[in-house]
């Protein structure tokens, strides 16, 4: 007989469950299960009255585990953990059973069968609860220092913002130049200042700060420790510098798509990528010239390297989102240099969202012509008699084939993820399908990564413009500061555990762990695996890797899973 004292509450959800599941029958079926001392049905388990009743039961009946069979845990897991906590019961002794979404609502057509399934589900929940143990969150003191990887506009802005908040910052820049892509960008929208000017201001400000230290030719080579207290090593011009930081912000930026040889005649003199064209514009004073010759006609081809268009293998499926705006702006600058210029924009769709629509308007007002082509019939670029002929079917005139002479062809190129392999090896940050660093949740946790204490911002995360990059850099700053200013962090205890008796240290678990959370320690006579509680995310990847079955995740242990399977088995029961 179990010595556990379990309270079980079966919720009607005001009919959402009880209209299809006979809750009283479920109650009858489980009330004699081993360890159950309270078995009740309730109209709304989440109501204040019901919560109070649970608290009273926990106290009066001295319950040491609780099961609520109600809705999906995504809704109320934390509610009922809170109920347990208020009653003095460790919250990890609580188990939720998802009767609404996964039973009553899914089987409204067969109430009888739904009731049978509900019995199995609640029994499994009880079996799991029987094997729960009280767990504590791990508390770690934080270090009030941060590392920013990458000294582009995002990194520099994040560094200054952290410094403002009294957090010391180290900035590690891989190249010998500070400022990243923005420094090379020329005039920018909407303030019309040069990117290099913006960067110079940021650098000047950073240099004034005692608590900001920028390293160039510096690479992150090692990272250990955990959120709030990382030990990292930088390789700065060959010299290894150890640092101790509480948070890391990764702002490593993007690569500009390099077209394949011959993609829209790329490689021929006069076919430029958008960044190359922007540099040309930046160097021009007076009329737009190329190699000393005046430019009369310019054709832009959009979406080069974006949205599945590429002559390379594995084309990028995403829209690079910044390029329409950037091309419009470039077109407007070009017009201002040479008002007589004829500009032809060959596009698939124009995506000048938000205020950038004004750029589109401005470009049109300045006489730029927009020619929509079909995805399946991209323009062709031919070189003839010292200029280019662009052949394109104009969708808006029902496929009229146009022949446009151009002096310059500008390929409006995509933003691509940087291949940061050595850095990825150190940080172990997950990448999205597009190859950019991936956040935990695109809307709710947009700058956090699954590695606690490591944040992402700027174009390392996704294609975006500099304003959006800085916005995300400042978001990462405030997330870092919130973490470091509190002085300590609490970590979820639902992580992997090692059965030291069973472990024979074969190191198979080490390679299975995506977070390098498993190490080795001596235990009496032998060496066994050890889990770094601050690093382990509780994914359980190591569990099936262990040939001895010595690993488990708390809350999902081998005993619990088997007990649940046993409890659900109807045929022998």
């Amino acid at each position: 007989m179990s010595e556990r004292r379990i309270g079980v509450y079966i919720c009607y959800c005001g009919g959402n469950i009880s209209d299809y599941v006979d809750c009283e029958r479920v109650q009858d079926a489980i009330k004699h299960e081993e360890g159950v001392v309270v078995a009740k049905t309730t109209m709304f388990a989440c109501s204040d009255a019901a919560q109070q009743e649970m608290i009273d039961d926990i106290r009066e009946q001295k319950l040491d585990a609780m099961v609520v069979a109600s809705c999906s845990p995504t809704l109320h897991l934390f509610t009922f953990r809170g109920v347990a906590e208020r009653a003095g019961l460790n919250p990890y002794l609580y188990v939720q059973v998802n009767l609404r979404e996964q039973c009553s609502w899914a089987h409204t057509d067969v109430p009888e069968k739904a009731t049978e399934k509900a019995v199995h589900m609640v029994k499994a929940g009880i079996a799991k609860a029987r094997l729960t143990e009280p767990l504590q969150k791990t508390r770690i003191d934080t270090v009030p220092r941060a590392l920013v990887v990458g000294a582009g506009i995002s990194g520099l802005r994040a560094a200054l913002a952290l410094s403002d908040l009294g957090i010391s910052v180290y900035v590690a820049e891989k190249t010998d130049k500070i400022g990243g892509r923005v420094a090379e960008m020329g005039r920018m929208y909407p303030h019309d200042r040069r990117g290099s000017e913006l960067i110079a201001n940021l650098v000047e400000e950073a240099q004034k700060r005692e608590n900001v230290q920028i390293y160039t030719q510096a690479e992150l080579t090692e990272k250990s420790g955990s959120v709030g207290d990382f030990t990292v090593k930088l390789n700065v011009k060959g010299e290894s510098i150890p640092l101790n930081v509480g948070a890391i912000i990764v702002t490593t930026g993007f690569n500009s798509y390099q077209p394949a040889d011959g993609e829209y005649a790329y490689g021929t003199d006069g076919v430029l990528t958008l960044p190359e064209f922007k540099q040309l514009l930046d160097q021009c004073e007076g009329d737009l010239t190329y190699r000393g010759k005046p430019v009369g006609n310019v054709s832009y081809i959009y979406c080069v390297g974006s949205r599945g268009s590429s002559q390379k293998e594995n084309p990028n499926d995403y829209c690079s989102r910044y390029c329409c705006n950037a091309a419009m702006h470039a077109s407007s600058i070009a017009h201002d240099l040479s008002p007589g210029l004829h500009q032809f924009h060959l596009f698939r769709d124009i995506r000048t969202y938000g205020k950038y629509e004004l750029l589109y308007q401005e470009a049109r007002r300045k006489g730029a012509l927009f020619i929509k082509f079909d995805d399946d019939e991209p323009p062709r670029v031919e070189k003839s008699n010292g200029c280019f002929r662009i052949l394109v079917k104009d969708v808006l005139t029902n496929g009229e084939e146009l022949d446009i002479e151009s002096d310059l062809v500008v390929l409006v190129t995509a933003m691509e993820p940087r291949p940061n392999q050595p850095l990825n090896d150190v940080l172990k940050l997950p990448l999205g399908l597009d190859g950019f660093f991936k956040e935990i949740h695109p809307k709710l946790r947009p700058v956090e990564t699954v590695i606690d204490g490591v944040f992402i911002a700027g174009t390392a995360q996704a294609p975006r413009n500099s304003a959006e990059s800085v916005a995300s850099a400042l978001a990462a700053t405030s997330k870092s500061a919130a973490l470091l200013k509190k002085g300590y962090v609490e970590l979820e205890p639902l992580i992997a555990v090692v059965d030291k008796q069973a472990c024979t240290w074969c190191d198979k678990c080490v390679e299975s762990c995506p977070y390098s959370a498993i190490g080795k320690i001596g235990s009496g006579e032998k060496e066994v695996a050890e889990i770094n509680a601050a690093v382990c995310k509780g994914c359980g990847c190591c569990v099936p890797a262990c040939p001895q079955g010595a690993l488990g995740v708390r809350g999902y242990t081998d005993r619990q899973i088997r007990a649940m399977i046993d409890a659900m088995e109807a045929r022998n029961g």
Partner: protein
């Protein structure tokens, strides 16, 4: 260990154990429920953090203890933990199928598919077709 499909009576309703994941496939399965999309009520799930954490012997255990099929509702590419979750889970499923073969259980009793957080419809389809397939296979029975 396993008897032939002929053992299935007319009223045979295969029981399916679903290994789901809390942050991805459960969301999809929940969505099927909240959309009132019916699937066989003999399908019942045990949620885990990640489908790459399923022990193959749990699958064998389930098939030995009253379940006629096991469905792994994998995280797929949405996995918040590991980018190669699909590959990892597939490997586990492979191992488990070998384990089933060794124990004279048809590997068809184990099925894996990625179920994303909006994959309600595909989950429903999987359940129905797996249910029908298992009906053809008949019940798994422990020897003796």
């Amino acid at each position: 260990m396993e008897k032939g499909g002929g053992a299935a009576g007319e009223g045979f309703r295969p029981r399916i154990l679903v290994f789901s994941t809390e942050s991805i496939s459960d969301i999809g399965i929940d969505l099927a429920g909240s959309s009132h999309m019916h699937y066989p009520p003999t399908a019942i799930s045990i949620p885990l953090p990640c489908s790459s954490g399923i022990r193959p012997d749990w699958i064998l255990y389930a098939l030995g203890h009253g379940f006629d099929g096991v469905f792994v509702a994998a995280d797929g590419t949405d996995c918040p933990f590991v980018p190669d979750c699909t590959g990892r889970t597939a490997k586990l499923v492979d191992q488990a199928q070998n384990l089933l073969r060794e124990n004279d259980i048809k590997p068809e009793r184990l099925k894996m598919a990625a179920v994303c957080s909006v994959c309600a419809e595909s989950f429903q389809k999987h359940m129905k077709s797996f249910f029908d397939a298992l009906k053809g296979l008949g019940p798994t029975r422990k020897a003796g």
